[in-house]
Symmetry: D3
Amino acid sequence: MATPILILGLFALICPLAFPSYASTLQDFCVANPNSQGLMSGLACKDPMMVGANDFFFSGLHLQGNTSNPLGSKVTPVNVAQAPGLLTLGISAVRIDYAPWGLNPPHTHPRASEILTVIEGTLYVGFVTSNPENRLITKTLQKGDVFVFPVNLIHFQYNVGPTNAIAIAALNSENPGVITIANALFGSNLPISSDVLAKAFQVDKMVVEDIQNKF
Amino acid sequence: MATPILILGLFALICPLAFPSYASTLQDFCVANPNSQGLMSGLACKDPMMVGANDFFFSGLHLQGNTSNPLGSKVTPVNVAQAPGLLTLGISAVRIDYAPWGLNPPHTHPRASEILTVIEGTLYVGFVTSNPENRLITKTLQKGDVFVFPVNLIHFQYNVGPTNAIAIAALNSENPGVITIANALFGSNLPISSDVLAKAFQVDKMVVEDIQNKF
Amino acid sequence: MATPILILGLFALICPLAFPSYASTLQDFCVANPNSQGLMSGLACKDPMMVGANDFFFSGLHLQGNTSNPLGSKVTPVNVAQAPGLLTLGISAVRIDYAPWGLNPPHTHPRASEILTVIEGTLYVGFVTSNPENRLITKTLQKGDVFVFPVNLIHFQYNVGPTNAIAIAALNSENPGVITIANALFGSNLPISSDVLAKAFQVDKMVVEDIQNKF
Amino acid sequence: MATPILILGLFALICPLAFPSYASTLQDFCVANPNSQGLMSGLACKDPMMVGANDFFFSGLHLQGNTSNPLGSKVTPVNVAQAPGLLTLGISAVRIDYAPWGLNPPHTHPRASEILTVIEGTLYVGFVTSNPENRLITKTLQKGDVFVFPVNLIHFQYNVGPTNAIAIAALNSENPGVITIANALFGSNLPISSDVLAKAFQVDKMVVEDIQNKF
Amino acid sequence: MATPILILGLFALICPLAFPSYASTLQDFCVANPNSQGLMSGLACKDPMMVGANDFFFSGLHLQGNTSNPLGSKVTPVNVAQAPGLLTLGISAVRIDYAPWGLNPPHTHPRASEILTVIEGTLYVGFVTSNPENRLITKTLQKGDVFVFPVNLIHFQYNVGPTNAIAIAALNSENPGVITIANALFGSNLPISSDVLAKAFQVDKMVVEDIQNKF
Amino acid sequence: MATPILILGLFALICPLAFPSYASTLQDFCVANPNSQGLMSGLACKDPMMVGANDFFFSGLHLQGNTSNPLGSKVTPVNVAQAPGLLTLGISAVRIDYAPWGLNPPHTHPRASEILTVIEGTLYVGFVTSNPENRLITKTLQKGDVFVFPVNLIHFQYNVGPTNAIAIAALNSENPGVITIANALFGSNLPISSDVLAKAFQVDKMVVEDIQNKF
């Protein structure tokens, strides 16, 4: 049987969350309603009398994420799909695990700034400012260090130590979104024309197609 | 010599941050300028060419806070006063330490919701909804548990275990503010008339004055 | 038969108003639909062709509120539950009556600033700033005086004259909410642990329980 | 000697208030600084330690406005120019006096919705919705009646009784602005070409020039 | 058979768009759902998996609008009713055609600023600032000139050349709205009392009624 | 002698515009002050009495941009640096010229959605949705076609015809910003570690360094 969390996950997937964070200016909170029947449902708020502590709760952020993948990193999110009470509140959290030399690759959050705290390990992190400067701002972080990634700028974290690393980060949206640059450009469904990518990156089309084949 | 951080702290203290988070809709970021001469200063943004990684950085969140106080708790903030690059970004973080039976007492954040992750220990946490229901929503949290406190609602965390507890929390404002209810009501400068407090709490004025004397 | 106002009241009660004031950036107005069937209803906007003047209207703010209660005050609201046309407009009004020595006790509005005009009588009013200053800002107001309470700060009004007092106030939300501090702390449903309250107010648990028994 | 209030009035006049209401998301309040030297001044926030109750205060809304003018109405405002503490708080108030048959003529507030309470007298009020419907929504109000004018819609109040009328209204901006339609169209400085106005109102240019001569 | 565009048009007409632009802070986009059954429908977002390029597309802005009307101008809009993908994105466009001496008469957009580019011809354009200055800001524009009309201010464009003129303009709302001043005042349904209009414009009631008869 | 426009350009460059669009909720407009002395200047608003039509004006959007560059495209902006009256108004415009096979390469606007109208030629355009779908939404546009690019999503336009193409686009920010993906990743100052880029794109470091050498 699908649990409420799973149904909500589905809901979040097929039903873009149409109620903005600003709705929190109109009520104490608005808990996402897992029984909303997708696109034809009604208000996405659960009856406040049926709301309980579990709507504001998530368990498991002490557990190590599985980093057995080409990038060697794993993001465990706690956003509105995991904690429905976050709807309209404009905040969420993630745990990020990094294998040795693991990379959280260049990406943007289209709807949030991020503040990251290193729990274990050593991370080389950075972000790039917009045109025309495209300045790279970088720092190597140790346990207890905190770093900020401004909204919409391309950023990354790279585990430069020989041991696992762990970070906890927060983002100021309950559904911040992620655009992994390499995937969006070279792994989109359908693919972007290789003419476009070859010209944009000033490489041969064969190089583009090689990269596309890996995504 | 005053360090930049100290100057900024002073700046933040005497010069309420007048540039809203929404300013981030107009630039990549706006780093608070520690050399702004208080109230008669100019724009609070540092020259972006002078901005560096340290503006987005804070060190020390792995260090235990000093909980030797009557409440047995200590909040270590990382907001715009510590990391000037947070200005306009709408997010900040804190570490909270709790001695055994330590209490982060009932308070509100006038400008932020909060998402809290337990790093160590066991916390009994809760918040109360607005009138007329005033429902108490509570949960006992263990390591790895996450809980959400909606903006402006009165909330608290209480260490119900015999060992120290640690939490890391994030708030969706770079200057979320805190109103500790007991201090604001019974320890304000100047004191609220004991007639008002006695009537509000339906107690004898002597009880009010006893409490006021402790704050 | 339930009147539309009553149905809307119910609607407002069980269905937190999920459409923010900012929706007024998308249409002339959005009148709350009293026939929305609670949580499973559709859009909360009434057909604009069915909208009439009564949606923007409330009658009775010249009538004295009943102040026969322990606090000696009574708030008569005109918010979105009374005037459905206020939905999305970000404003509402109240009349407050005060018996001699009547108190509108310390409270916050989690979603609005307030501007208050004294129509009759003499009021001692105040608000307290946030930590660490907790400054009390007070004034004794006469007929025709206006005072401002900033959003989310604890504030009160106290009738210090021997006659009835009347105020009209406005708040910049159509559903500003109220958190009466004493009720939220000592009268919540379920009660906050007396351990927490005793430690927060630095009083004996018996004092806490005495206060809780009155709420 | 100019009083601080007068200086602030001047300040407000020549220096458009550049700090938005949303700034209240970054501090308890931001009181307008009367000593800011106009356009070349610094931050418009007064040192919070210098802030006092008078910054949030205005006296005189019980006094009758002078309605000896062609329209027979007078608006007495309490906005940020009168109460500097309103800066960033997003609310203000007005008293409106109407002589018998006095008119507050068709106008818009470019930055606020309005909620109006009749204190004395009988008012015929209305607003017109946007294109293409241009529906007129009207009501005749008595003492104690409340009416709402949605943001940016053209509205008016007309005293249809033989006695003076009084209203108190609030607007959800500390500087809501007013555009009196007749003045903006026929009394602008410099005048709009009479060709434009004649074509827009489908009247002879002589009619336009007659009206322009009166403004 | 009604096309989706037509249904959406109807939807937009009877169902004020209740989802604010700020919703774009919660998802990539929210395409208006043409099958939403008016007021009793569910969420106004189309299933993102069903979204296609046509939702973000409009064809025909190269076609001349029909200016055979008393004003000699025609606005062809591309807002959320024409391109449902604009929902929540806060932008739209129009093409405006002007016959020789054609006028886009004085009007306001209650929810948007406008930036206009002249494609062909010569336009005398202007806007009027709010009270008390009511300054007229005007310019005569040629091909390739760009002009800005600030939100909510009364503005107009007048073709002062002997040939057709064309402009393309954009507005920062997906449903900016239009209030044509002359129509709202003299052509409303029902009419505004001629007493009100005569007093407001300081003209004889017969002049008012003459104008009303033309609208 | 530096022209005001040039000074403003410098101002815009070194002084991130700290006054958000929301400031337009507090005044009719706020024209950027070209004489503000950079970071130590005062309020960025020009005295409204000194404001004139030229503050809201730009000339030259009928002129062809120079596309003699490797990408074969040229963007001519009209934002707050060119038209200072746009400050706080939340809108701007661009003309884009494309040589045959010219490309406006994959990029994001960190602060705006975009609506584009084809004036001449044939453009293949597209954007990619966020993780995990990364759907490519594309369309081939002809003269008179309009297309929408949602805020923060990666998008591009490619001239697939043998002739020049021209588009006019608008963005809902007066300073929307641009992040050209290839430049930010491979041409940043200083460069991103080739380890990071090689792992992110799953290519050999030599491929990364080849690309970096071209930027």
